[in-house]
């Protein structure tokens, strides 16, 4: 199925900085919020326990409650999204309004979940990340440009620029709003042929 509304091409936005390492998916969306049977509505519970206190009041020192910072790009420390495979983490970030996340390292399953949900995970070098945090601190309204067709992330008219690594297949999907299932379904005959060749494989039949 093609989702025109979710296509990503060029993102021009200021960024929300969260310079913490090893942010796991339990922080992004705690388990007690995984009970919805829908994939919508998780944005309000993004970083719930860092964002709100026990009584449900916003914690002043958490960046999402600081109006100085806003935007469609989240910039975080190394090893973002570790732990549970919950795709709800990607849904929460996207539901909140982010279109891209920038880090020096993403955990595997989380990265896949982002790509499958048109949330762009951008892995940059540690030095680029540090410079970016410094620049955002100096100018919270700093405009960052993510150019998916050219595969670049840049600020200040290319004064700081780096290449985005992304596999060609996912780039195609993101640019066009394609999903994985359509691709696999187009290969249905190959799947059935594969199964026929293994009909006698007693070790995996039931």
């Amino acid at each position: 199925m093609i989702d025109e509304t979710k296509k990503i091409s060029i993102i021009k936005s200021n960024a929300v900085p969260l310079p913490l390492e090893n942010i796991d998916t339990d922080q992004i969306i705690p388990a007690r919020f995984l009970k919805s049977i829908s994939s919508e509505g998780y944005g309000k519970d993004l970083f719930r326990d860092w964002r709100y206190d026990k009584e449900g009041n916003p914690k002043k020192d958490f960046v999402l409650n600081d109006s100085t910072y806003s935007g469609q790009i989240l910039v975080v420390g190394n090893n973002f999204g570790s732990g549970s495979s919950r795709e709800h983490a990607a849904w929460a970030l996207q539901g909140y309004g982010f279109k891209a996340v920038v880090s020096s390292f993403f955990a595997d399953i989380f990265k896949s979940n982002c790509l499958n949900n048109f949330l762009l995970p951008i892995q940059v070098s540690p030095s680029f990340l540090n410079k970016l945090f410094d620049l955002i601190e100096k100018d919270p309204k700093l405009e960052i440009i993510v150019n998916l067709p050219n595969q670049t992330i840049s600020v200040g008219g290319d004064s700081l620029i780096e290449k985005i690594e992304i596999n060609p297949y996912k780039k195609l999907c993101l640019l066009n709003g394609y999903d994985d299932i359509s691709y696999i379904l187009s290969m249905q005959d190959k799947i059935e042929e594969f199964e026929r060749q293994r009909e006698d494989d007693f070790s995996i039949t039931y």
Partner: protein
């Protein structure tokens, strides 16, 4: 290119399951068994409905209820509304799509990674996925098993395939004999403390060596289970006689002549002697001691007699910041000894350590003793089957006599999605797999350990060294 002649076990299984691949695209990878639970499936079934597709291979799909279910009064309707709705959604979806469901009350119900091996669904050489990161558990049988997100659950339901990029391979060899009081949970906590919570990312791990060979299947499952905690795609152990013995007569194991044929194939499932791994690590089993975590990721572990690192040991600014935040959350101090630390709860359960051997280990330590007054102890068997065996062996009585709360099967306090939560600020020694902030409940302070260590701490009411007791 010498590398392609000799293959690792992972590569053998990978190669035999690629349906189709083309330059620049991920491989279309066939999945032999798909396990489902109530939390990560509703949206996947919705997706199928929207596409007007059936479940492609119902005979390769199994569902159970584990994350959200209560562990008390399991025969009554679930009190918590959202949990009940999720569990009902799974029942309705399985009914509509003709998927086999082992729901609450079914003798096969349990934590998804406990029932797979228990029922013989998990077989050497297979590819297995589930919408849960601890799917790596099944790797103990020599399978390529890994966790996936809900969109991927939908892919597998629709096509029995998933798009995958081939990960790199890592060999972690543990040689030598384990010291007294050291069990498989300590092995994996030790490994992660050395490699870090992200050190395995991008790799599929094979665990090998004499210490691994000496372990039972359940002990091997504990190790493979926590492969994800070092960021690895999955972790496997080549099958051997121990594996084949375990497989015999299981519900879904091949029978009769098929058993012999299967055995012949399974015996070929090992890495070639000259196969090259992308990374190798060798560990001396004698270096491993009973472990405990002090921080808020599974890599922050030390030996039970050890001390928490000092701030001065950190040279990297962001590592130091992360360490300080972690210690502050845990209410511990730099340089502190773990021994003697007061605790409030002990949780024995989770897909890491809730099998019959884990319960037997705990029972062997607590038999005839009583828990300390200052702790609440929960023992949650991994499945209805494990619960039944525990009762047959009289373990339940040993636990209740000790003042432990012996409950029904489910994920329970591992992640506190049901009522089994650890209150804020309380210390819990847990045989589970994650000690993240708020994992067991908002503000809960989790310390991961083996069932032996957990049992000893339950009696003492504080952190103790199991070797002082056995």
């Amino acid at each position: 290119m010498a590398k392609t002649q000799f293959k690792t076990l992972f590569e053998k299984i990978w190669d035999s399951h690629v349906v189709y691949e083309q330059e620049g695209y991920p491989a279309i990878f066939y999945i032999d068994a798909h396990l489902i639970h109530e939390v990560t499936s509703p949206q996947a079934f919705d997706g199928l409905r929207k596409r007007h597709l059936p479940v492609f291979r119902t005979q390769r799909t199994w569902a159970t209820m584990d994350h959200n279910v209560p562990t008390k009064d399991q025969d009554k309707p679930i009190a918590e509304e959202l949990s009940r709705k999720q569990v009902e959604a799974l029942s309705e979806n399985c009914e509509e799509f003709d998927v086999r469901l082992y729901g609450l009350g079914h003798p096969n119900q349990g934590i998804v990674h406990i029932i797979g091996p228990q029922l013989g669904i998990t077989k050497p050489g297979m590819t297995i996925v589930c919408g849960d990161s601890h799917t790596s558990t099944h790797g103990a049988f020599g399978t390529v098993a890994f966790g996936i997100g809900t969109s991927e659950v939908e892919q597998v339901l629709a096509t029995q395939c998933i798009l995958q990029y081939k990960p790199k391979t890592m060999n972690i060899k543990i040689e030598g004999e384990l010291k007294k009081g050291v069990v498989s949970k300590d092995i994996i906590l030790y490994i992660i403390s050395k490699i870090s919570a992200s050190g395995g990312t991008g790799y599929f791990v094979e665990y090998s060596g004499s210490a691994i060979r000496s372990l039972s299947m359940e002990a091997r499952m504990t190790i493979c289970n926590m492969s994800i905690e070092m960021g690895a795609r999955g972790g496997l152990i080549a099958p051997d006689e121990v594996t084949f013995e375990y497989m015999k007569e299981r519900d879904f194991a091949p029978k009769g002549d098929n058993w012999n044929k299967a055995l012949e194939y399974w015996k070929t499932l090992k890495s070639d002697a000259d196969a090259a791994f992308d990374k190798e690590l060798t560990i001396d089993a004698e270096d491993i001691e009973p472990m405990i975590t002090y921080g808020t990721n599974p890599g922050m572990g030390i030996k039970i007699t050890g001390t928490i690192p000092m701030e001065s040991e950190f040279t990297n600014e962001s590592h130091l910041m992360a360490f300080k935040k972690s210690i502050n959350y845990m209410g511990l101090t730099q340089g502190q000894k773990m021994l003697g630390q007061e605790i409030d709860y002990v949780f024995i359960g989770s897909c890491t350590n809730s099998r019959i051997e884990d319960l037997r280990l705990v029972a062997s330590i607590v038999k005839g003793k009583k828990k300390a007054d200052n702790v609440v102890v929960l023992v949650v068997p991994g499945s209805a089957g494990v619960e039944k065996m525990a009762k047959q062996e009289g373990l339940d009585k040993i636990f209740t006599d000790a003042g432990f709360d012996f409950r029904g099967a489910g994920c329970s306090a591992c992640l506190g999605m049901n009522e089994d939560k650890i209150p804020a600020g309380k210390y819990c020694i847990s045989t589970s797999n994650r000690n993240f902030e708020g994992r067991q409940g908002p503000g809960a302070r989790t310390m991961l350990a083996s069932p032996l260590t957990a049992a000893a701490c339950a009696i003492a009411g504080k952190i103790v060294d199991i070797r002082e007791i056995i």
